[in-house]
Symmetry: C2
Subunit: 788 residues, 2 copies
């Protein structure tokens, strides 16, 4: 293919005008943004302050901890506004860059609008379903005793669900909003200095990371304190504070519902565009995939924004929300069992951890500074080293603040040294996160042996490349699983020996220990998300530089940034799956607590020796396989549509974006519906079967097994897909550095095949599985009443 | 590549002499065969009769059922001798065929000898380990009360293990012995008539199928009756008959131990040779993989014999042995719980079912006859239709005999209609097997939509072909899982409602119901194995015809047979995984029974809500991924060695076979050791952890979870690997029929890549997983005492 290009066989395309038309008739801004933009800044500030006043008043009536959380969140929002202003103040470069960037922005915003339009319709439908389910089930005895009626709890759950969905949507939008604006500024800055380009990309990523994490925290805090004040919790005859977190599960489900479809739709879009660009170039015109004459090239760049920025924002929002809620439930349960006088510390602990997360990650983000003389062209430093330095700083700070928070909130006179054990649990989590990142690097970075072996296997052809990649991916599951196993067991053990005893004198802190470890793992989430967002922004900047035909030196800078972005993207995926693994174990425990509360009998065991329960497990694992199949084949089909279009006249970018958008929205429905419908169907069927065979709680048990097996298979499958995809990508890059024949050799062609296969693995199916795992956990939490 | 061939670019090879030298200095026959061959037939018969006399005497002292089983087995052995004689009486064709066939035979026997030499050393080592474990653990109370000392039970277990290993080795040898002799006779017959060729291939397959199944049955029957008589079972103060089957677990473990390494070594050999031939042809010389000038071509044909015939023989031997033993254990447990006076019917039921299997499969095999005028060249009929007709006959007979056996053995006055419920369970199993075969066909046959879609995806390149194949494979897991789930639940329910009640009046036949369903599924095993063995024999015959340059009309016949062989191979894999799924659930239950017996306390639950147990599950699933990774990469590495050799002078078939053989023996150790060592390590570690954290039976519980999760993941992974591999293979074949551009097109090249990837999937990793699943189950059964 490249030969043809080099020999100039492509005259008709070379002379074509490269224009990047706006893809819609009028510029679109969501209503809320237009209103906000239209208001005078002082009026806006006044309004905001008023709102904050109300929130603080409610917070103050709940707990001083909540006030602290509110304050930190608001400060970090202010910081994020500063970061945006800083990024937006940078110049957008020459008109050709602006033109391309506008085309990307139009495409991304257009897709986002359509996608979230579809998602919001589905969310409303689901809200109605949840409402009717909750209206027809009997409330738990706790709720009854607290006077919380059937309809109140139904409305609460649905409201929480919708709020979660809305916040998740905003999180996704914010991620994309900043990335489509930052990309061109990074390209422009790359003309001046690598360091400045890096700083812009990091700060843009930091902005959305702070907003995403901050919104997850403040959303839960507002819900919690509103319910606290409204339901007069802890006053005599009312609800107990330890039962309050169960009311929040709707929020987590709303967040994961939106995240699932955001990730699916965005993932299918980005990879269909990518594979499509590759195929159009190869099959139809013999031009490289990132050439401006390729009609799918803009769709590819749009994909980075909607698939990586928006979807990853929604994904991490959902991770943090689900993890906070499940840890709150577990903290409440433990505090109740241990009869701790003031359980609010245990319940609110996760909110505080993530507040500190905002603080320390801000420090980490701001530590990445421009050079002293940013005007001159400084030599290119290794951006990875700079990012890593910031990460190390954040990690050190997180150890300190974590210790502080455990001492502050988890100290109890019943077990004076418990807080220290929990601090160690947090340390276990932090170390786990760090080790996960290292393992992912080992398997996906071409500095190490696995990717080099993979590249070598490409030299004997396409087939051996694929076999080697699949083997590498399958093998790469082993170490992470060992690490996760070790951390679950050690955190559980640390919690168990914390000295906290239940009424009967049994140690009882184990599960909370694993919860604290999960929090430790996620305690640098905002910084990790920043690094992750950095990737697609740098990728886009590279694309803009390429398409606007900047000089070689500028491309060099963006190429380096892009390569670093690939590494950070891969490592944060490892991080995401690790936290999903730990979080789902918590959510599972929270589910069992909830079933016990609804069923008014202990629900402590999921016995897989019962055939029906075993079948549930079988179905759960199968769900993962089927979901992955559908996610991958959706990419293949959508890419096919890109190719099958006829681009005789000129590269019609807009049409290409529209085709990919509509196809990927259509394709996201099937796997998404599978994920949502199947636990409900399984739970209901086995509930009915249990009713006729005299098996109490059979539906709930089978769903529990389904959840556990799906989680385990999902973790493994996601690790396999992510690592194999990343390794293929980097094996190709390694060969492109000139190894084994370099670009254009047979070996490189085989490596390109691997890369194509890896695309849907690592950017569609893999990340969707992270979300799926947690979505399954939250859906079972919300739907638990109908399984009984 | 083909273009080059057609344009005659290969002068240096075209003129080369095609000789197929013997690969060793003197012809090799195992000692036992040489001795047997050396004896006068009458003397042999007398000796055999004497042996049978002893066996019958012991059998008669045990139970009339055992006598029946012995008689059927001996009759079927006689029948199998008739079949061999019939096959061997056919002519071997012209000298060039004989030469090729001799080369294949030498290669196969040489590899078999080396491979089983390695395996037997490992088996002896493991026997010592088992011996020391059993010598140092305390016997169960039942054993103590029956006076069965510690050392006696140790020797019994080890002897059973070694016998199982030996029988499995013989089963493998027999499978290979006949196939390397039948292949050339099929080729020769193909010169005369398609029907005769088919008949020879079927009868040769039938011979080894009857021997394999017969040996599994008679081996267990001999062990059972010997122990019965020797230990004076059921006499006062001695062992109870219901505890007897537990002594047989060593036999199952021995069988699966050998089968695992046979399948791994053979699978790596066959696919490394296949991929290697492909690569040598493509990379080095531009000749097709099945061209006589390709040095790896003989290794490829040898691989069919050692990888498919020998390994599949060992695999099915192990399946049947493990399934019989676990069903005997469950039958005994149930009979005990229900206080049935004479439990021997329930215990010996599986032996009877498989005796009938021998009878009805023989009828099926013999129903495939030559045409009336076998001398003339009859038009080619569809051999699949003929085989299917035989299968249908066998299925109908199996329904009848199954009903008969349930009425005969499972009738009890305590629950007069129980036998009918169990007969229905058997029907469930038979239907499951049938549906499984249909589903596999749907996903792998190019008459249906999935493979056609896959072929279409090849038209856009290598990458989309792989994506589509992976999606197809992942998706194909869904229906089989639903079928398995349904059959587990319905068989359990049928058993539960059979009317059998335990002491406390609870229904108790559920688990035995699933056992009966498994037996139903395996009730046509001998016929299925015949169809399976047919595949590689036909494949080899085709290779011989091709290499000896027979006229087009002969090739046509072997091509048709080969294509049918591919289908039967794929469908029997579906059958194997289905029965493995059911059997492992039985083995799991047997494991729990055994732990309860050893621990002298009830062991009824495996609660995955306990973190350590959950971790066990995580590790179990991970084991499957890692094992698959290592199996696939072993093929890649071995194939690489084939390519890296230098074949400048002439195609050195012998050297190529030797390279593949030594590499595949080296490569089989790592995955094999992983499978054996990891459950032991996990069980021991958690036993120690449990000891220090005050968790009784933690080791046993964690191993149970590991087993279950590994089973579920293994079933899904094997389905994925087998189906994807089969579909890729047939997509290539579909394109070769002329569709989508036909042979030599870009589309075909992409399909060849898929086929190469699918090779280790479907013939190395996939089938090894079947064995692994059951090996894990039997190893935990044998090693249970050290987990406590």
């Amino acid at each position: 293919m490249d030969d043809e290009l080099e020999s100039g066989n492509l005259r008709p395309y070379v002379d074509r005008p490269r224009t990047f038309p706006n893809m819609r008739n009028k510029a679109y801004n969501p209503l809320i943004f237009r209103v906000l933009m239209g208001i005078n800044v002082r009026v806006l500030l006044t309004l905001l302050l008023l709102g904050f006043g109300v929130i603080f008043y409610i917070g103050a009536r709940t707990s001083p901890i909540i006030v602290f959380v509110f304050s930190v969140c608001i400060i970090s929002f202010l910081l994020s506004i500063y970061l945006t202003k800083w990024v937006l103040s940078k110049d957008e470069g020459p008109p050709e860059m602006v033109q391309i960037s506008d085309a990307i922005r139009d495409g991304a915003e257009g897709f986002f609008r359509t996608q979230y339009g579809t998602i919001s319709k589905m969310a409303l439908l689901l809200a109605l379903v949840i409402l009717s389910i909750y209206l027809f089930r009997s409330p738990t005895p706790q709720q009854e005793s607290s006077g919380l009626g059937r309809s109140t709890s139904a409305y609460i759950t649905v409201a929480a669900f919708l709020l979660g969905a809305l916040c998740s949507g905003i999180a996704g939008y914010v991620g994309m909003w900043v990335s489509v604006r930052a990309n061109v500024r990074v390209s422009s800055a790359a003309r001046r200095s690598a360091r400045e380009a890096l700083q812009i990309a990091v700060r843009a990523g930091g902005f959305s990371a702070l907003v995403v994490v901050g919104m997850a925290v403040i959303g839960i805090a507002i819900l919690y304190s509103t319910f606290y004040v409204w339901l007069r919790v802890d006053s005599p005859g009312s609800m107990k504070v330890i039962d309050l977190p169960l009311l929040l599960v709707g929020y987590g489900f709303g967040a994961s519902f939106v995240a699932l479809f955001a990730q699916l739709g965005g993932g299918i879009f980005t990879k269909a565009a990518d594979v499509g660009a590759d195929l159009v170039g190869k099959v139809e015109q013999g031009i490289p995939e990132d050439d401006p004459r390729n009609p799918a090239v803009i769709a590819d760049l749009v994909g980075d924004n909607v698939g990586d920025c928006a979807a990853r924002g929604a994904d991490l929002f959902e991770s943090i929300a689900a993890e906070i809620i499940s840890a709150m439930i577990l903290g409440g349960t433990m505090a109740k069992q241990c009869k701790i006088e003031d359980p609010s510390g245990f319940i609110l602990f996760p909110l505080v951890v993530h507040s500190f997360d905002l603080v320390i990650s801000s420090v980490g983000i701001l530590s990445i500074r421009g050079t002293r003389n940013s005007g001159s062209k400084s030599p290119i430093e290794d951006p990875m080293a700079i990012l890593q330095k910031g990460y190390n700083l954040t990690i050190v700070l997180s150890v300190l603040t974590f210790g502080l928070s455990t001492r502050w909130l988890l100290y109890t006179e019943r077990a004076p040294s418990a807080w220290f054990n929990f601090a160690l649990c947090g340390l276990v989590g932090i170390i786990t996160a760090y080790v996960f990142v290292c393992i992912t690097k080992y398997y996906t970075d071409y500095k190490h042996e696995p990717v080099r072996t993979l590249a070598l296997a490409s030299s004997t052809g396409h087939g051996t490349n694929i076999i080697a990649g699949v083997s590498l991916g399958l093998e790469s599951t082993a170490l992470p699983v060992l690490v996760i196993s070790l951390s679950i067991i050690s955190a559980f053990w640390l919690g168990q020996t914390s000295g906290l005893l239940d009424e009967a004198g049994n140690p009882t802190g184990g599960l909370f220990g694993t919860a604290v470890a999960t929090m430790g793992m996620l305690s640098t989430a905002a910084y990790i998300l920043t690094m992750d967002m950095f990737g697609p922004i740098a990728d886009n900047a590279g694309g803009i530089v390429e398409m606007s035909q900047q000089p070689e030196s500028v491309r060099e800078i963006t190429d380096v940034l892009d390569a670093v972005g690939n590494t950070t993207k891969a490592t944060t995926k490892g991080f995401a799956i690790g936290s999903a693994a730990l979080a789902s174990f918590l959510l599972f425990s929270a589910y069992m607590d909830e079933v016990a509360a609804f069923a008014q009998e202990p629900f402590k065991q999921v016995d897989i020796a019962i055939p029906e329960v075993f079948v549930g497990g079988l179905l759960g694992s199968m769900l993962i396989f089927l979901f992955s199949a559908w996610a991958c084949s959706a990419v293949g089909r959508t890419a096919q549509e890109v190719v099958n279009e006829d681009y005789k006249e000129k590269p019609d970018y807009g049409r290409c974006v529209a085709i990919v958008a509509s196809a990927s929205l259509r394709e996201m429905i099937k796997p998404g519906a599978l994920a949502i419908v199947s636990p409900i169907v399984v739970g209901l069927s086995f509930r009915i079967l249990g009713y006729y065979t005299g098996h109490p709680l059979l539906g709930a048990k089978v769903v529990a097994a389904m959840l556990m097996f799906a989680t385990v298979s999902g973790i493994l499958m996601a690790l396999f897909l992510n690592t194999a995809g990343g390794a293929w990508d980097n094996a190709k890059k390694y060969i492109e550095t000139g190894a084994l024949g370099g670009k254009g050799s047979e070996c490189h062609k085989a490596a390109v095949t691997g890369d194509t296969v890896g695309d849907p693995f690592k950017d569609t199916a893999g990340p969707s599985l992270h979300v799926l795992i947690k979505m399954l956990a939250t859906i079972t939490l919300v739907m638990a009443p109908i399984f009984l």
